[in-house]
C-alpha cells in the first residue's frame, strides 16, 4: 500500500474571530469562559503551550480519484490535556478536511462505534489518551475487515456472527401480563455473567483475532462471549443451554480459538474473552462426555 505523505497542514489556531466556531470544542470552551474577564488569557496559554500532536490517518475512498490508492495523511492537531484519539480526528475533520470519515457517537465508550487500529493495536478512539501514545500516532481502520472509506470498515460480517449464536432469551415471546412474575436469579449468577454482558460490539476483538482473520466462518470472540452470557444465565433452562452449546461446538465455534489472548488484550471493556471461550469448551466437552 502506498504511504504517500502529504504536506503537513497548517496547525495555527485560527485567530480570526469569525473562525471561532471552528476551533476544537475543548479549546473553544476554554476560551469562552475567559470572555469578558480575561479575554486573551486562554489564547496566550494555548500558544505558550504550543504543543501539537502529529497524527497519520489512513485515507481511502473508492470514488475519489486521489484516494482510490490508499494513503496516509498527516495532521498536526493542537494538543490539550485530556485529549483523546477521537478528539484529534474530530479536530482534523472539522478544521482541515471535512471529508475525513469515521464512525463515532457517544464519545464515552458505550456505543462502540469508534474502534480504530492505533499504533498497531485495536482500541476505542474515544477512550485512548493521546498522551499515552508514541508520536506520530498512526490511525488506521480495523484490520481484517474491508474498508468502506477512511476509518470506516464494513461491520456486516461481525453482525452476522453476533446474530449467528441466537443472541436472545429463548423463552416465550410475550407471557401474558398475569404471568409476569419475575424470574429469580442469584446475585452470584448475575455476577458470573456481568463481564460478558458489558460487550459494546465494537469489533476490536474480532479484528485482533488471527483465527477470525483466516477462517471467515469462525464465530469469533464477541459472538462466543455473547453466547456465554446466555449459556451461563441460570434463568434459561438446561435444554436451552444444551442447544446453545450445540451451536458453539460446531467446527467453527469455540474449538477454533487458539488461546492467543489477543482479543482479551484489546477489549476496551476488559471482558476476559479467552477465559469465557475456554470455559465453554470445557462445558461442551463435559456435555459430550455425559453420553459416553
Amino acid at each position: 500500500m502506498s504511504t504517500q505523505q502529504q504536506e503537513p497542514e497548517s496547525q495555527e489556531s485560527p485567530q480570526d474571530p469569525e473562525m471561532k466556531g471552528a476551533e476544537s470544542p475543548q479549546q473553544r470552551r476554554l476560551k469562552e469562559k475567559q470572555e469578558g474577564m480575561v479575554d486573551e488569557h486562554a489564547e496566550d496559554e494555548a500558544e505558550a503551550a504550543g504543543e501539537t500532536v502529529h497524527i497519520k490517518v489512513f485515507r481511502y475512498d473508492p470514488e475519489v480519484a486521489d484516494k482510490q490508492e490508499p494513503r496516509f495523511d498527516d495532521f498536526h492537531v493542537p494538543f490539550e490535556k485530556g485529549m483523546t484519539v477521537l478528539d484529534a480526528v474530530m479536530y482534523a475533520r472539522d478544521e482541515f478536511d471535512s471529508s475525513l470519515t469515521f464512525r463515532h457517537s457517544c464519545r464515552q465508550a458505550v456505543c462502540g462505534s469508534d474502534a480504530f487500529f492505533v499504533n498497531g493495536s485495536q482500541m476505542l478512539g474515544c477512550k485512548t489518551q493521546l498522551s499515552e501514545l508514541e508520536q506520530p500516532v498512526r490511525i488506521e481502520p480495523l484490520p481484517h475487515q474491508e474498508v468502506v472509506k477512511d476509518l470506516v470498515v464494513d461491520m456486516d460480517h461481525f453482525y452476522d456472527q453476533m446474530h449467528a449464536v441466537e443472541p436472545y432469551f429463548q423463552d416465550e415471546d410475550t407471557p401474558a401480563a398475569s404471568d409476569l412474575e419475575e424470574q429469580r436469579q442469584t446475585p452470584e449468577n448475575r455476577e458470573k455473567i456481568k463481564m460478558s454482558s458489558r460487550c459494546i460490539w465494537c469489533g476490536a476483538c474480532m479484528s485482533s483475532c488471527n483465527i477470525a482473520a483466516g477462517d471467515n466462518e469462525y464465530l469469533g470472540p464477541a459472538a462466543i462471549n455473547k453466547a456465554y452470557k446466555f449459556a451461563m444465565d441460570d434463568r434459561e433452562s438446561e435444554e436451552i443451554k444444551e442447544h446453545r452449546l450445540r451451536i458453539l461446538e460446531q467446527e467453527h465455534g469455540v474449538w477454533r480459538c487458539q488461546t492467543q489472548f489477543s482479543c482479551t488484550e484489546v477489549c476496551p471493556k476488559d471482558i476476559p474473552l479467552t477465559e469465557h471461550i475456554q470455559e465453554l469448551k470445557r462445558e461442551a466437552v463435559k456435555k459430550n462426555l455425559k453420553f459416553w
Partner: protein
C-alpha cells in the same frame, strides 16, 4: 455497498512487530508442531531399517560389517550435522512440551492472567534445558 478495499491477509504478517506474547506463543507452537510431525515421519522411515536388518542385510560402517539398522543409526549419529539437528530437535520438542503444558493450563482455566509470563518462562526454560543438554548430545561425535 458500492465498493470496498480489502487489505488482504498479508497485513497479518507485516504486523509481526505488533504481536503480543500469546500470538508469538501460538506461532512458535504451530511452527514447532510442524517440525515435530515432520520429524516423526522421518524417524519412522529411519527406524524402518530394522526391517532390512531383520532380513539379515548388512552394511559397512567404519570398516566393520554391521546390520542395516545399527549401521544406519550409528552412521547418522556420527555426523556432526545430525548432532546439531538433534539439539535443535530437542529445543523444538522441549518448547512444544512446555508451551503445551502452558496451553493445557489455559484450557483448564488456570493462571489465565499470567499467560504472557508463562510463555516467557517456557522460552527461558527451553533455552536452559537445551544448553544444558548440549554436552550429552555432542558427546563422542567425531569432528
Amino acid at each position: 455497498m458500492s465498493q470496498s478495499y480489502n487489505r488482504g491477509l498479508i497485513e497479518d504478517f507485516s504486523r509481526w512487530k505488533e504481536f503480543s506474547a500469546g500470538m508469538w506463543a501460538w506461532i512458535f507452537h504451530k511452527f514447532t508442531g510442524w517440525m515435530l510431525i515432520g520429524y516423526l515421519f522421518t524417524h519412522i522411515a529411519v527406524l524402518s531399517s530394522a526391517i532390512a536388518a531383520a532380513d539379515g542385510q548388512t552394511m559397512m560402517l567404519a570398516g566393520e560389517e554391521v546390520n542395516a539398522y545399527t549401521g544406519t543409526l550409528q552412521g547418522l549419529e556420527s555426523l556432526f550435522i545430525v548432532r546439531v539437528l538433534e539439539v535443535g530437535l530437542l529445543a523444538v520438542a522441549v518448547f512444544h512440551i512446555l508451551n503445551g503444558i502452558r496451553l493445557l493450563m489455559v484450557d483448564l482455566g488456570v493462571g489465565l492472567t499470567a499467560q504472557d509470563k508463562s510463555f516467557y518462562a517456557s522460552l527461558v526454560l527451553t533455552g536452559i534445558i537445551t544448553v544444558a543438554s548440549v554436552p550429552t548430545f555432542m558427546a563422542g561425535v567425531g569432528l
